[in-house]
Point group: C2
Chain length 336, copies 2
DNA sequence: TCGATTCGCTGAATCGTTTCGGCAACCACC
DNA sequence: GGTGGTTGCCGAAACGATTCAGCGAATCGA
């Protein structure tokens, strides 16, 4: 029943009539090793004939490099994006002949600890700690880590590792600029809850863009929603009831933009005819809304790529890598 | 700079004053090994003191079991669900002290081959081959696989492995039943392209439910869309223009239901007041639509779980496991 | 007291690689 | 024919665990 087991280096060596060491050097193309041309050919032929492939576990044991990276995320499924992040990391890893080991922790610190341990037990060559919404992560337990480690979409409690995060401040800035360039002057900003880093950063950028043009943003046009459609809905109603209502609404995420759409529709207002709407995140949903929602895209795939690249570089020192959130211009913004 | 390297079994043994073999038996709680109580305690204390954790690579090399499963998917990011599937598999794996190695192939058969090889090189204990939309996968190259293997959301060209797929036929059946029970008799079915297994299965079930009640379904109420909103949009327009229009529309996926919503809105029709709509897939989108879309949920998470369980069981013989697609009842269906 | 058991532990082999010191053989040169 | 440098390959020692035959010592039964 069981297929003939995998050929080992010993099989190759004996078929080629050489020592294991010789076969090994040929197979790995060792630089300084000198081996006669026809010996090399014999080994290669044997490899071919047997369909030999090195046992990565054994190799890893010997070389102390497993070509494995660990990806520890707090939720893999929760956000659709997690998949993109993983794909980004995986693509880079694959190109560098590495594989990804994954685990999700469901935000449980104990599970996270255990997951990291499990990966270290497997001798991973590096570790990506990813959070699905930018937040602080306690890095103290990681301090003595012997392998490279990067933080993805989150911040360490201490500056120990590289951090790859979206440039939310610039995203807010670009969002406001985009709307201002389109001629809007009264722009509402339905932000998320102020306890989130992203919310504050986006607001800073948003205000900076106004300031840059010598504008001061009317505080009455700023609100803090709950990141969900009903938050967007309620604030939009309130904002549109203002004596001098906004001509554009910037929502700190697409979900709230969905709520804004609803409120606007109920008020008999047209998007973008009467009011322009700009979201943030670029969820898949955005392109299916009517009108298709313009939004600032979170660079999930790119963050995954970067994280993995940093690992390949083996870098460990702290640095904050801010990745841009490019605008996806669709049909929800009107130029005045 | 480099932290003191991980303690090995030898360190534990020497600290406890025993042989490596003894330490090993204690640590692994070997059944038939009898070791004195205080020796055991000494070893355990040493383990504790050193923070010893076994090197999984070395252990795997010796035991021929790595506690690693490979997950080879054609797209991890493309569908948001892939993440759920992986999570399902990962959760089961984790509970059984296994980790998941992942790779995505982007539908490229060569990459798939390479990915599978890469996993086998890593001595995985099992392999999950997953496709993001149910389709046929060439299993011939997997024939001589020496490890358990399951097909997830896809069918093998030959019956070699367990296959875990959604029960689309029953899903179609349940969908129709649900609508018929609600009193609808003229139910339109906007199906997807007929080249997809899922489309045909859903249609079979849909018709069977009618037949079961002695009803024959009016073919004019059946259409084949393109799985995208515009397909749903156009067919809905056509269907509602019929002399005897449907009172309910069953769309073979949520995206087309979005299109149906649009068309209905433009026609000034209310959902579910005038027309009920039922989708399929339960994308995240569904719950954000107005009214929230009722839909048949694809059991992504469960498929992931099942696949992993099968692997743990080590089963290899062919069997087709059909997982139910439970209805998610929200606000888009009206009872007549 | 003398085998026979049982107990508690050890040493060595093994898993499949890589790496490195060293050994023949060959050539070149004085 | 020494001396010295290359060349081409080999053997053995790791890497960090598990497993198993077996060995003294203690215990037991008669």
């Amino acid at each position: 029943m069981s297929s003939p087991s995998r050929p080992t280096l010993a099989d190759v060596a004996s078929l080629a009539g050489v020592a294991r060491s010789t076969a090994s050097m040929v197979i790995n193309g060792v630089e300084h090793a000198r081996v006669a041309e026809d010996t090399r050919a014999r080994v290669l032929a044997a490899v071919d004939q047997l369909g030999y492939r090195p046992n990565a576990a054994a190799r890893g044991l010997r070389t102390q490099r497993t070509h494995l990276f660990g990806f520890v995320g707090d939720e893999i499924a929760a956000s659709a994006y997690a998949g993109e992040t993983i794909t980004g990391a995986q693509d880079v890893a694959w190109a560098a002949d590495h594989l990804l080991l994954i685990a999700n922790t469901g935000r449980d610190p104990d599970v996270q600890r255990a997951a990291i341990d499990a990966m270290l037990d497997r001798q991973v060559d590096g570790l990506i700690i990813a959070a699905m919404s930018a937040r602080e992560v306690d890095v103290e337990p990681l301090r003595l880590l012997s392998v490279p480690c990067v933080l993805l979409n989150c911040f360490g409690t201490q500056p120990l590792f590289p951090e790859i995060v979206p440039d939310d401040e610039r995203g807010g800035f670009d969002a406001a600029t985009l709307l201002l360039d389109a001629g809007h002057t009264r722009i509402a900003f339905i932000n998320g809850s102020a306890d989130k880093h992203a919310a504050n950063a986006r607001e800073r950028g948003f205000l900076a863009a106004h300031a840059q043009r010598g504008l001061t943003h009317d505080p009455v046009l700023r609100a803090h929603g709950n990141w969900w459609p009903d938050g967007g809905y309620e604030h939009t109603q309130r904002l549109l009831a203002l004596p001098d209502p906004p001509t554009a609404i910037f929502c700190a995420n697409d979900r709230m933009a969905v709520g804004a759409y609803e409120a606007l529709k109920e008020l008999g207002l047209d998007v973008p005819g009467d009011v322009s709407v700009l979201g943030y995140d670029d969820m898949e949903l955005a392109q299916h809304l009517r009108p298709a929602l313009s939004t600032m895209a979170l660079p999930h795939y790119e963050m995954g790529q970067w994280a993995c690249r940093r690992l390949l570089l083996g870098a460990r020192e702290h640095v904050r890598e801010l990745l841009p959130c490019p605008p996806k211009l669709r049909d929800s913004i009107r130029t005045l």
